[in-house]
Symmetry: C2
């Protein structure tokens, strides 16, 4: 993409993200994004031919902005990234988006593709942190990264989406420390 296209795309996604947070999922339309960002509607339709693709990239952008930057400190990195996930799960717009995607992705192929893209984007950093822990020998090499991701974020999603309850302060450290007690190599060697 030429630099002008990159700029217009970035401006559009920033505006779309604001709309998502302010008005929720139904607020993210080509018309509203054009008004908010000043990017022409023709340009918007060139980047995103339909509403699902616009919403998918808006959510992906929102997820990318929320991600943390791993430092190599396994426990601290897990805490930061899961606290970011916890914050996202409490945003009404994101909560709504996740619920709609969970329901629609099972029956509508456009949403299935969106869900897969969001799932990869949403778990990328956590996956990197776990793989880093394995490479540094802090987690067992045979630990399945997918299973580790499920064990780390699964409880938070279950609490929000199935129990419909807030994830309280102190919850993320409990989950991370239980995960580390279960898997961390130093402690396994003592048994």
């Amino acid at each position: 993409m030429d630099p002008r296209a990159v700029r217009s795309r970035t401006a559009a996604l920033a505006a779309a993200r604001d709309l998502l947070m302010e008005e929720g999922w139904p607020g993210v339309t080509h018309v509203a994004v054009a008004e908010r960002s000043g990017v022409g509607r023709t340009t918007l339709y060139r980047h995103w031919p339909d509403t699902p693709s616009l919403i998918r990239d808006t959510l992906a952008h929102h997820i990318a902005v929320a991600h943390t930057e791993p430092t190599g400190d396994l426990r601290a990195d897990l805490l930061h990234e899961l606290e970011a996930s916890r914050a996202m799960l409490h945003e009404p717009a994101t909560d709504r988006a996740i619920r709609v995607v969970v329901e629609r992705s099972a029956v509508d192929p456009a949403f299935t593709e969106m869900k897969d893209a969001l799932f990869r984007a949403g778990t990328r950093v956590l996956r990197d942190i776990v793989d880093g822990g394995k490479e540094r020998g802090e987690l067992p090499a045979r630990l399945d990264t997918d299973l580790a991701v499920d064990q780390l974020v699964g409880p938070l999603f279950f609490r929000r989406l199935l129990a419909n309850r807030p994830v309280p302060d102190g919850y993320v450290p409990e989950v991370v420390d239980a995960f580390l007690r279960a898997h961390k190599k130093k402690e396994r060697a003592q048994r």
Copy 2:
């Protein structure tokens, strides 16, 4: 309820559960349940004035049938109950029902009540198993039962609903053993 009312209710729920498994959520209607069970439609409407209440009790009955009976062997009980949850999550009708409830419960009060009832029914046995482990001193008394439930079933729900992937053989033992390594008292005492 008099014994005849109990019998007609039981017969209706058994028929409704068959319809749910064969035709999914839209198959559970008063007309279809009346035909399948031989219970009169007037009686059905007396038990369940609307479709959401009929579906809620059908799912609750299905969950009750799927539950296991704890024996007091902590690891075995957790394995059995989570394998039952795993099986339910792979049934197309249950998968569909959970996704719809997750989406609708955030916006429709009838579904919110349904979700709460199903959540309580669905986690009841797991909660009992964890509380039993705490009473017998195998799990720490200060372990939060809600958190334990999230850690045990959260990964399975995340894998099915968010990753849209099957939960493979061997997954449940990994989750249960990680949970026990993290929390079991004997092993905590060694550290």
